[in-house]
Symmetry: C5
Subunit: 262 residues, 5 copies
């Protein structure tokens, strides 16, 4: 569970509610019609923007921003070094037994390719193709949220224009102007709030998590190719540690690598 995502959303909404209560009441800021126009309009545009199967991933993609990364890079480096030691001592075929203990599918697949005696150039080609395609798919997924981050303010403005036009065509009752304009502004308020508290930040977090996953995959590829090339585990460790920030390097190789990279 990524507590920052949930905590941030709760904190944000509590603050906004608190801010509203300073000078008004919550009821004045809830208008079902306005909510429908902004959310409905933005999702309608999302359907035009992406094919149905992609749109249907919206929820599961978004939920990734609430999950912690399954593997942190420090642990993966330790695992790769462990595999390198096995391969060094007992040969590449000995890795077959270790495969079942590997929890990451990508690393497991890479080890299988090595055990099968696949040509190193082909191992590299397959693993890098896979990473490039994962990165592309992540980019598309993030793109949905970035799109929502600009569609929400846009439909907020569309809703406000609808409210303003309706109000301006009927100015006979001056006392109705204020409340009508207040309602008209609500869609802009919703659009701006949802874009800046939910969609844009989630797009940023998906990007962060994707980059972290790409780093982990890069470490795996570098490690796997080094293992296949029969390099010294100490040298592999040196190579892989270069991917880490200095203060995370010390714990590698010990059992204390417990810090959460979240």
């Amino acid at each position: 569970m990524d507590i920052a995502t949930i905590g941030g959303l709760i904190l944000g909404f509590v603050l906004i509610v608190w801010g509203i209560l300073q000078g008004s009441n919550i009821g004045a800021f809830i208008d079902v019609g306005s909510v429908i126009i902004v959310i409905g309009g933005a999702f309608a545009a999302l359907f035009v923007s992406y094919p149905l199967p992609q749109v249907l991933t919206f929820g599961s993609v978004g939920s990734k921003s609430f999950q912690n990364a399954p593997f942190e890079v420090g642990k993966i480096i330790e695992k790769v070094i462990e595999l390198a030691n096995v391969a060094r001592r007992e040969g590449l075929l000995a890795l077959e037994e270790a495969v079942s203990e590997i929890k990451d599918d990508f690393l497991q697949k890479g080890v299988m390719l090595i055990v099968d005696g696949t040509d190193p150039e082909l191992v590299k080609n397959i693993l890098e193709t896979e990473v490039a395609n994962i990165e592309d798919r992540h980019g598309t997924n993030k793109g949905m949220f970035e799109n929502m981050g600009s569609l929400f303010p846009a439909f907020g403005m569309v809703g406000t224009l609808i409210g303003l036009v309706a109000m301006l065509q009927n100015l006979s009752d001056p006392s109705a102007i204020g409340p009508a304009m207040a309602v008209a502004l609500l869609t802009t308020f919703y659009g701006s709030l949802f874009a800046n508290l939910i969609f844009n930040p989630i797009a940023t977090k998906l990007d962060y998590k994707s980059k972290n996953e790409m780093l982990v995959k890069q470490v795996m590829i570098e490690g796997l190719l080094s293992i296949q090339a029969g390099e010294n585990p100490r040298i592999i460790e040196e190579k892989l540690k270069a991917f880490l920030p200095p203060k995370m390097r010390k714990s590698i190789g010990t059992q204390e690598a417990e810090e959460n990279n979240g």
Copy 2:
């Protein structure tokens, strides 16, 4: 038929109409002059932006966002593996018979080049040149819709300025100000709505479909070059599956690869 595009457009317009009916009537939001200024102005600028033959493709390019992708990548991988098996068993020349069954022109052309005994380097050069040029043309096509996505709000604002200037020069009748301003805002409303519900989303969908097509083409090139190099069909399968998301890989090689990648 890409039901998301049509469904999204219908949903969007129904919601907007519903929103209008909450506080006003449809008649108040229809002003033929405003429609003409926004749509006419944006298309006039489109003519200045692109040569006539390119502008004339506007409709057919846009219609692509209503169509499903003709081939999904999973099926193409199966087809390539099938061809690889034929080539493996019966030699490259045996592919000639298979050519007529291939529905995709690009794959067909690639197989023909192999059957003709074209130099591998030249096959690669020709196919990659073609893909790069398709990508460029897609980029230009998408660019037209992105341009419309910024021209519509721009001419919406131009229309509103025309309305405001006309209104401000004749403030003698206070009761006319509201309705005049309402009409002035309509062009901004049209510009914003059309840009955000139609043109920008269609540009996004064209981009999505183009990337998907490029992926399919990349798989074909990789597969064709592997077939020509006489690689083992199992290895080709492994290579091509790396282009797919994990959950789509399982169905390859079976007859159950029915999921729509649309």
Copy 3:
């Protein structure tokens, strides 16, 4: 003559005039002082932005968006294949006679380099350097129009601010407020209209034409190097057709390649 550019500009201005006449009169939208501030201010900033010799090309660069491309890629491919056939049959030196019939300077220069027996690596180096520098100059030229596309709205806003400040400092006559504000808005109107109907679209068209020219040049380089390498004209045709969209390929090699790519 690029009729789309002229037609689009005429259509755009006719529509705007028509829109103005719906609720006002042309006189109300013409204010010489406002025109001078917007156009003068934007050109003043253009002088600060570019050296004089570059600014002096503004007219001739802009006029390119009114001209058709001198050569379309289909014709160039035919010409290159024709040259390839001559070279194949009669040797590279026989191209010397063909040089005078080539209307494009770049292609002519390339053929001359081949006839002179220049080293293939050097031919490639010279032609690619030239293309890269043409592309850079096109980018700068287009940049002038993009700059104007943002300077016009900017000086439109500066003009409106001047008008608003003047108006606000003298509110004693309420009946003068409306007309004064109308005049203040005119500069924003001019800035927005000229940017979106003239400068941004012309920048887009220059970009389109530049890309098209780069494609033609790329085809020429590919063709020239193939001719010099003594490749089979049929293979050269195959290579160069990969630059074309499928439906334009059929006419190559026949005399019916008349479609206007302009």
Copy 4:
């Protein structure tokens, strides 16, 4: 201490306070609720945007913009040349003694790799991987401040919308409208001021410092590889000076290289 950062912040706030005092009083510009909405909202969105461990670095990352660069590139070049001379005269192993005097961890690590007789290709690989990963982490860090630079104005606008809606729903007391609107505008004021005086400038400074650090690291790598290759110290000096602006080159090799690059 980077006095420009502190000086700029102090100067900026003093100027703003002075500006306020010209026509109003400070009390009118302080509204605790508004401060909480803007700062709280932006930080809430920051939590949604980044995982907790990354958000927790916010303070230490920001504080880097208040520190001078620990090493300036001129001094590093002198140090590398000194090491090159040692290696030239006494052999690569003699560098071991010099290691303890090197204050920069990266340079120290590089020298250790050389002393250990690591393969030059591997030294390059390790050092470049490390630099690429430092650059990525710097990019993420800078991204947090850039995000804040757009979140602050966004929540400023959200706050203003809350204030406007509250005000518009209760227009019965005309004398309250002005002050209510003044308070509503305060959040926009805070958002705009903090973004443009604090967050965007700090993001720019972090970017500047990161580029400077990357330059230093590039010089170190170039120098280390040249030392390992046994190149002449005079040639190494020539190579490394090419990284410097001309006027900084003269002092290299003398004891007068005191100018502060901070």
Copy 5:
């Protein structure tokens, strides 16, 4: 002297003053407090954005946009060909005498490297490293002016918000509202005018001049490496002319290459 920069600035300010005099007086547009907030605020933020030594170059960097390029590319090509002829006739060492006549430091350094018999690969490495670092420094310099181009409007808006809040808190005297709002708008006016007439255009001109200088340097490197390789001066001329637009090529090699590229 780059007369376009000075002429553009004078023309721009004269036009703005003329525009102001159409409906108001200069005094109404001068408010010392507003000037201080906008200029002071933007420079304060510039200090936060860059280290002191970089900020201190602001004036000298800006003054470059008032100077003509010291060397035009046509003359440099002639000089390089002259050197090539000397080297061809009298050997590389004969270039030593020519060094003192070369006014450009970079070209001089390159010739010295050749005369010293430096390895061609190293000459290329040193010269390209220097050019890459000059380009980076130019980018940072231009970045300062681009930053100012966005900081000025930002602090213009901050100033306007200060004025509006002050005005709204004291609406008791209706006749004071107009003038107070006029003054509040002045900061937006200053910010917008200075950004669009001074800072953004100067950033564009610095970029133009930097690209031109990079072109000159590229020509020098290409020429120097060709001279060192002992290539035929006629071939070098052919190679270098490819960097020029066609109409500038004819004058090369004659004494009439007088056109000012500045």
